[in-house]
């Protein structure tokens, strides 16, 4: 079982999955001939080679038991950072820089080990002032701080 969780085995699987995805989504691309290659020729070729390499990695991982085990991921940081950036992207144009900033800082700070609300608020204030001065006033970027207000 532990072999199936080794870094090598899983990365081999990842390459095969990406290869299959490339073949599936590229299934309508013309292959063309070797003289006049269509848009699908090189992608297909790359996908097959990559899947071959993935298969080699998988087989080697199964044959050797020394492979390094994948560490169990800590879900909090990566989830919080990703959610934070996505929220920023969703809020930035609809609501403005300030709401997006508050959401991003709050959510990503929750992903860290220590969380003190006063500190996070202080961080927000400092960064908000800095961003407004640098991007809005300094670089004259065409962004709204709070949509409809400023």
């Amino acid at each position: 079982m532990s072999r199936l969780l080794s870094k090598d085995f899983l990365s081999g699987v990842m390459f095969i999955v990406f290869g299959l995805a490339a073949l599936w989504f590229g299934r309508n691309l013309q292959m063309g001939t070797t003289v006049r290659m269509g848009p699908g020729y090189v992608p297909h070729m790359l996908a097959y080679i990559m899947m071959g390499l993935g298969a080699i990695i998988v087989v080697m991982a199964l044959l050797t038991s020394t492979g390094e085990r994948t560490e169990a991921p800590k879900w909090k940081p990566i989830t919080m950072v990703t959610i934070g950036i996505v929220c920023f992207a969703l809020l930035f144009e609809r609501a403005g820089l300030l709401p997006a900033l508050v959401a991003l800082i709050l959510i990503t700070s929750l992903g860290g080990e220590e969380f003190k609300l006063t500190e996070v608020i202080a961080n927000m204030v400092v960064l908000a002032i800095m961003c407004i001065v640098v991007f809005k006033l300094g670089l004259q970027m065409n962004i709204s701080v709070i949509r409809g207000v400023w």
């Binding site: 013309q30 070797t34 992608p43 930035f92 991003l104």
Partner: protein
């Protein structure tokens, strides 16, 4: 004398007020981000890419080069003061640099590293000036098949010398090549892997990929590790003692020589240079036992070597358009965004940009010494800011930077997506660098491959009939075979274990 004419052209470009300013700003922000613990030059450059986009090409490249040197310099500072290397190439600096700092010689270690780097940078720049022209002239004789083989060699060599598992790294190159194909096919206009998203029809933008893969993933990994500070060390006098200076000089000279040579090799670059220089110093020293306990040579040689190598690693990139490591891949990406296709044409068609950038490298190195040494106190203060404040701040600037590329939140979403992908890569022990190299070279390589096959009427033997191409392919094959030999495999693993 052509050399002097070129050099003076370059200096006249570099010494305009505007370009000096960009070099200065680049060095400053590069150092600013580079001293933040756990953030190396690749992540720094990736995150700062957006600020150079709206500049004219020459200014943008000058600024990027400044950012690179600043980031590398910042990395040495953190290695010496808090024992946290930002990148593989300054791991060696930690060994003796931090020990020197603990013995109260932090200032001396910093100034030796700065002066050594500057000297090495100067030599590196001279080497670029000498070799750029002949190499470019050689590259102009290359046909499509030769280029394709050259890229194959560059990619394989970069992978072999990089680190970790070779098969995995090669698979990562292919994955990068595939991602590079997203967008409209140049020859037929067909949409490839665009999923009807209009933003993807020009291909996936390079900057969000780099920011997500390196910047975001690096921050997440640092958050997981829960970085704790060992308390920054006070810096007192910057002057080395006479004894220290006497021991540092020869080491700097040797380090420069090794770094300059290894930097030109694809995949060589700063890390290999620094490690080899350290090993050499230890081997020829009459007192090898002091290494690891604060030996001056152990700081001087690797610092000189990694800077010489970062300089000469520009040679294959500027003359052939082949990036030899992740930093150079970023530079190539930045050039393409600016509408410049790196390769031999750059020197002939845009001599002011080419020579101006080279001269600016030297100017940037000089600036680092005169600006940063007096400002060391400020950088040290920055080191004491806890990571829980820094991480959200860096993320925020990344988001705004990504948005500013095209005023589109789609780019911010891409950063998030590639952050997740980068995290998966890191967890599975897959290197991001080969992926980036594949991504940057993908479109060109396909183009050359298709053109070569068209010219040969579909006969793949064109790759072995042209002597240049054949030679390059043989070299590639030899490298791959060498890697499979058990004795070399073992030595290579040992070398990388020392690093980790």
């Amino acid at each position: 004398m052509d050399l002097l004419a070129n050099l003076s052209l370059g200096l006249s470009v570099a010494f305009t007020f505007q370009n000096l300013l960009y070099a200065f700003v680049g060095c400053m922000v590069g150092t600013l981000i580079g001293v933040l613990p756990g953030i190396g030059p690749v992540a720094t450059i990736a995150m700062l890419l957006p600020i150079t986009f709206h500049l004219p090409p020459t200014a943008a490249l000058i600024m990027l080069a400044g950012i690179y040197y600043g980031a590398a310099y910042g990395g040495s500072t953190t290695s010496i003061l808090v024992n946290l290397p930002g990148e593989a190439s300054s791991v060696v600096t930690c060994l003796d640099g931090y020990q020197m700092a603990r013995q109260g010689r932090a200032g001396a270690a910093l100034s030796i590293s700065a002066v050594g780097s500057f000297f090495a940078g100067t030599v590196g720049t001279i080497i670029i000036v000498i070799f750029a022209e002949p190499l470019t002239r050689m590259a102009q004789k290359f046909g499509p098949a030769d280029y394709c083989s050259l890229m194959a060699l560059g990619l394989v060599a970069a992978v072999v010398l990089a680190s970790g598992s070779v098969v995995k790294a090669i698979a990562m190159v292919f994955l990068g090549l595939l991602f590079g194909l997203v967008g409209t096919d140049v020859n037929t206009g067909a949409q490839r892997f665009t999923f009807d998203v209009p933003e993807l029809s020009d291909g996936i933008d390079f900057a969000p990929i780099a920011m997500g893969l390196f910047g975001i993933a690096e921050i997440v990994v640092n958050l997981e590790r829960h970085l704790t500070r060992s308390g920054a060390i006070k810096v007192t006098s910057l002057w080395p003692t006479r004894e220290e200076a006497r021991r540092a000089w020869p080491a700097i000279l040797r380090g420069t020589a090794i770094g300059s040579i290894l930097g030109v090799l694809p995949g060589g670059g700063p890390t290999l240079g620094a490690f080899s220089a350290y090993t050499l110093e230890k081997r020829i020293s009459r007192t090898p036992e002091i290494f690891g306990k604060g030996a001056v040579e152990g700081v001087a040689a690797p610092e000189a070597a990694n800077n010489a190598a970062s300089q000469t690693s520009f040679i294959p990139m500027l003359t052939l358009g082949i990036p030899s490591n992740a930093v150079m891949a970023l530079m190539v990406g930045a050039m393409i965004i600016q509408g410049i296709q790196p390769g031999p044409e750059v020197m002939t068609k845009k001599p002011d940009l080419f020579w101006g950038m080279i001269a600016s490298m030297w100017v940037g190195n000089l600036m680092l010494v005169i600006i940063n040494l007096p400002m060391i106190g400020m950088w040290v203060k920055l080191l004491t800011v806890p990571y829980r404040f820094l991480a959200p701040a860096i993320l925020l600037f990344c988001c705004i930077g990504a948005y500013s590329l095209q005023n589109s939140t789609f780019h911010v979403m891409q950063v998030a997506a590639f952050g997740v992908l980068g995290y998966i890569f890191a967890r599975l022990g897959c290197e991001g660098a080969p992926f980036l190299l594949g991504l940057v070279l993908g479109p060109q390589m396909e183009e050359y491959f298709r053109r070569a096959m068209l010219l040969s009427r579909g006969d793949p033997s064109v790759f072995i009939q042209r002597p240049i191409s054949l030679g390059l392919l043989i070299a590639t094959a030899v490298l791959l075979v060498l890697m499979a030999l058990p004795s070399i495999k073992k030595a290579r693993q040992e070398a990388f274990q020392e690093e980790g």
